[in-house]
Symmetry: C2
Subunit: 275 residues, 2 copies
């Protein structure tokens, strides 16, 4: 049976592009209009796996998605890095000079801010989704309105690309994770990365001690982030990603950290994605 994949956004979104690149076999998609509804799709078994953006090289972590994974006890079973290419597109036959407004997701507009400074006559309008904006232009056959979206969106909604690669920072990678409600996916020989969460007492040096343990166990830290604990503001929990050569090294560190920290939790064990 074909795997059903929940993506954030509609076909033509960057999440759709990740689904195409990550899964070898074609998958049918559940288009979710928010990350919350993507979680619902998984929990109600409407889809088996979900794709969530988690971090990009410009804005950093997408923190609410960490909270969604954590609170809903989802498991990260894979990751994929996508090089985001932003394109300005519109109904065919128009030039940039014809456009009065360009609509897109606020982050996409932000990433193209330098480009649009050259076109002060264009009003930038925030919308919910890059691909949806492209579809809306197609369906309404709208003139004078452009969208900033993925190449796949231009193809899906038959729009003309007026300018390609208009994002300011050319190296614009976004890290996506594949999530499930269960963590049974890979044999341990294939696992070389893990995402964990823990809390620490406010004793001086407690985080240094934890990182020393990880280092002694041959884990290499690839990401760390402290997050306020909601019920006790500005006490912090930590989200940490580690890579390792051998699962047994990670397993040993995990046992120690379960004793050293409070609320230790594994968010996922998976194979690292290619940068």
């Amino acid at each position: 049976m074909e795997t059903k994949i929940a993506i954030q956004g509609i076909k033509g979104s960057f999440h759709h592009q990740v689904a195409e690149e990550f899964f070898a076999a074609p998958a049918s998609l559940d288009e979710c209009m928010s990350f919350e509804s993507l979680v619902t799709s998984l929990k109600e078994n409407k889809s088996e796996k979900g794709i969530m953006a988690l971090e990009n090289s410009i804005a950093g972590s997408i923190i609410p998605n960490y909270a969604l994974i954590d609170h809903n006890n989802l498991h990260i079973i894979g990751e994929h890095y996508l090089d985001i290419h932003m394109n300005l597109m519109a109904t065919k036959g128009q030039k940039i000079e014809d456009l009065r407004e360009v609509h897109s997701h606020p982050i996409a507009l932000l990433q193209c801010a330098v480009f649009f400074k050259k076109y002060p006559h264009i009003k930038l309008v925030e919308s919910a989704d890059t691909a949806e904006t492209a579809r809306r232009i197609k369906e309404g056959n709208l003139l004078r309105i452009g969208a900033v979206a993925s190449p796949i969106a231009a193809k899906m909604y038959d729009l003309e690309i007026l300018a390609a690669g208009i994002h300011t920072v050319k190296s614009n990678k976004t890290r996506f994770v594949i999530v499930k409600t269960q963590n049974k996916e890979l044999p341990r020989e294939e696992i070389n990365k893990a995402s964990v969460k823990f809390e620490l007492d406010d004793t001086p040096g407690s985080l240094a001690t934890v990182l020393n343990v990880m280092n002694n166990c041959k884990l290499n830290l690839t990401k760390i982030q402290s997050m306020p604990i909601i019920e006790t503001p500005f006490q912090y929990s930590f989200f940490v990603d580690v890579v390792f050569a051998k699962y047994k090294h990670y397993e040993k560190a995990k046992k120690i950290l379960e004793l050293m920290t409070t609320h230790f939790k594994v968010l996922g064990e998976y194979k690292n994605g290619k940068l």
Copy 2:
């Protein structure tokens, strides 16, 4: 001369409330419609100090503001924690039952979602700013439309508070920082907190070593966040906040870290805010 303070938003915003609480003497305000224009106000000497939200206990760090401070070489010269209280307000003489719509910033509406579930007849409408919505209701003398905003907004725009403290999570603190283009503010005896940034080679254990140094120098970590380095995606720089009893301890750590890390930078040295 009165100090001119740049705030994000207009009078009646939560940034305005921070200005009132943080500065003993009354200050005149430069109302900036975005964080970017707040930075411009400082750089063009239209204002001397600026107030920026940096972190809240629900959504975590406001990462783009870290980038703004860093890229524009601003200095953090103080911090202030504000307990955000959301209030439903409207033109005087109305009851909640009279309202047809409530307008506010999407985050504010989100934080009050549970409250509004009790009033399904009210349509929630997203607007750009909490205080601006309050002002619009006042100026248009609008009926049947409410705003979710700060107590100070109700006062400034002469609206009646129909329900106070309507946010779901009662402990809703936001951390604001006071920024300047120069870092000459406090004598060193009064400084007990610093925000620094550095990059590390990808050698295993390098972060643990840095935290050990901090711990040995009697610095206590209050926040850590790894951020992808834009030019070299997914190599990380670190934003770290530390508190200390004596400036000379911090000074010693700073000298060591300048040698141990690359691109070591002080974002600010200041007195910690009361939680």
